[in-house]
Every structure is written in C-alpha cells, then in structure tokens.
Amino acid sequence: MQISYNPGKILCMKIHIPNSAFLGNIDPFLRNFGTSNPDTLEITANKQWISIHPMVIAMIAALGLSLKPKQVHCETMEARSKHYLKRMGLFDFLKIDSGIEITEHESAGRFIPLKQITNSEKLTEFITEVVPLLHLSPKHTEPIRYILSELMRNVFEHAVSKIGVIMCAQYYKKSNTIRIGIIDRGVGILNTISALHKAKTDLEAIRLALTPGITGTTKRIGGTDYNAGAGLFFIKSIATVNKDFFVIYSGNGMYKLLKADNKKSVRLHADPFKDKHSKGENFPYWQGTAVGIDINLDSTEEFSLLLDLIRKSYSKAVKEQRKAYYKAKFI
C-alpha cells in the first residue's frame, strides 16, 4: 500500500493486492502500507491470480470500514481468484459493488468469512456458533477457539478500537492448515504498554506484550485480578509448540515467529526475541494491531500436552521477569 498526495492535498492510500501474501512472505505487502486516516482508498490487484492470508483480507476490510463508499476506488478485478475475495465478504466491508457474481456455496468446514465483532457478548456468541462450523476434531477445535477468544478479548480490553475486531479464517486442504487474521484499529500496543512499562518503540512494546506477566493494566508483574499478562505469551507458545507462523504488527513494529525446525525440541522462551523470529521497526504505520496465525493440523499437539509444556515454563518465566524487574534500591 502506498500513500500519495494529489494537488488538492487529499490524502490517498493505495493498496495493491499481490499475487501471494501469506505469513511467510507477508513483509513486502506490509512494507507497502501507508499511514492512517486516509481520505481515499484505491485498490488494485494482481491480474493473474490472488492468493492471500486472511490477515491481509481482514486488514483491507478494516481500512474500508472507516471510509464511505465514495472514498473507496477498486479497479475491476481480473484475477481468476477474484471470486474468493467476494465470498470472503471483502466488498461488503468496503461497501462497494465489485461487479463479481458468485453462487455462494456453504462455508462450513472451509472458511469463516469476514466478521466484525464489537463486544464481549458477541464474541461469546461467535465462538459458540461459528467455530463448530469449521467441523474440526476436538483436538483441533481447542487451540483454535482458545486463540480466537484470547486474541479478540484482548482487543475489547486494551485496544479501544471503534470498529471492534475484524476477523476471518480459511482452511487450506493441501497444507491441512487453518490460517487466521484478527485485526483492530485501536490505540496500538505501544500506547497501551507504555502507559505503565518502559517501551519507546512499537517493537519494544510488542516484545513486552509477548513477555509473560506483563500487561497494559498494571505495573505489577503478574497482573491484576482480571489480567495476568499471559494471553499473547500463550498464543505465541501454541504457535511455537506446533511449529507454526505467528505475526503481530502494530504501529511501525512487526514481529514474526518463524517456523521452528521440526527436528529440534521445543523450548518456550519468555523473551520472544530468543525464539526463531524476524522483526522490523520501520514498517509503515498501522493504526491498531494486526495479528496473523497459522495452525497446521498435522502437527497440532494434544491441547493438554501443549498446556503442560506451557505450565512448566510459565511460572519460571514470570519469576525471572519479576527478578529482572524488581531490584533492591541502594541509596
């Protein structure tokens, strides 16, 4: 996505939907993002084929939600896979007529089209009604509804996102993977974390948010009665144990947990920078937070085994964090 200024000084945001943008190769797409609060949004797309992660679709939908239909300009899509964007509900969120005609087939077992969830009660409804439609075994349902609940609840508690949460998910049969995108347009992680912890950049704030025991609701390591500061660490741990991608992008910062080597034993680090990862702090500014996660169903551990691994590392991690944070003050 690019930003340009026309002679009338109207801020214009341009998004080009590429041929391919999944978590492994999402960086070029994110690098082209512009700034927040655009006056117009121009969408172009690869003319041959479009294959993109739900995180990308949800980000575009979230941008469209804050604009009026006359502010959104979308070129006529030519790619053969354009029907996919229509079926996911992207053009409904952008409030534009794509001119694409489709026969809607049942989404059950294949995908969750774009959803906007605006409060805690609607989230509970969503999880109760929609997740079963993915037709997953209990072993696979548990981590997925866990991830959806914790990530979306985070938004309602911390993000102050006027549009709530935008999410969608897709099952990929070939790789037997579920890919999920969860987006908000709230205050961003830096804003939440830096009110109580030492973080100067978006990436520093993302690092703290992924560290066990640190929450945006209290300075106290270990949290309050309502927040433990464990949510994002758990999500990252689920992705680590299953050797999946996990991306979190807020403000100018992006952290990506990379797929770990299948042969190596898993270690859950309190410091996300000790995990196999890539990161950047000069990405174009995203107002709010965008999260993408892949869950490979072939490598999914039994959820209770996964939790056992987390239990073994969590208390130790919080203790270490507390030790590092609270020091004797000699005067």
Partner: protein, 96 residues
C-alpha cells in the same frame, strides 16, 4: 459445602472473564470469607482459557493466601481444564 456448577453460566467453553469475575465476587469470595469450603464443578465444560481461570481464582490466592486452596475443590475437570487451573495456581503461588 457450597457447590457451583459452571456449565450453566459459562457454556462448554469457559472463556468469558466477566462471567468468571462475577462468579468469584458473587459466590466464591463470600463463601471463603465465612471460612467455608466450596466446590467448583466443571462437569460438561470442555475447556477454559487461562484468562477465565485467572479471573476466577487468582484474586482469591492473592487475598486469602495459598492456603485458600485447601477450601476450594475443582470437580469433574478434564485434562485441559486441569492443566489451565494448575498453570494459574502455579504462577499465583510463585507470586505470593
């Protein structure tokens, strides 16, 4: 002993922290303040989030001390729910 059945309040996936806090404030804390025992019956609950269990019991351990666990019984918990409860109990005890 007071028994709280969670399923009617939480559904099969116990994830709503507001409900957890309400159960704690309305039922659990008053019972423990009277130095009585309480059973949290998870029958039918397939899984719970760490956030839910944290909102349900962390403040009890913080306020009443680790020994409060002598007065709370967790009944009919499957493996996943047990793991989540153990995680919260472990880190809260490490914190107090």
């Amino acid at each position: 002993m007071k028994i709280i059945k969670l399923l009617p309040k939480t559904g099969i996936f116990a994830e709503n922290k507001d409900i957890a806090r309400e159960i704690r404030i309305k039922y659990i804390t008053p019972t423990l303040e009277k130095n009585e025992e309480i059973t949290l019956d998870f029958e039918g609950v397939e899984s719970a989030t760490q956030s839910f269990v944290h909102a349900l019991i962390s403040e009890l351990i913080r306020n009443f001390g680790n020994e409060v666990l002598n007065n709370i019984y967790f009944k009919n918990c499957n493996k996943s729910v047990q793991e989540i409860i153990n995680i919260v109990v472990d880190y809260m005890q490490a914190a107090t």
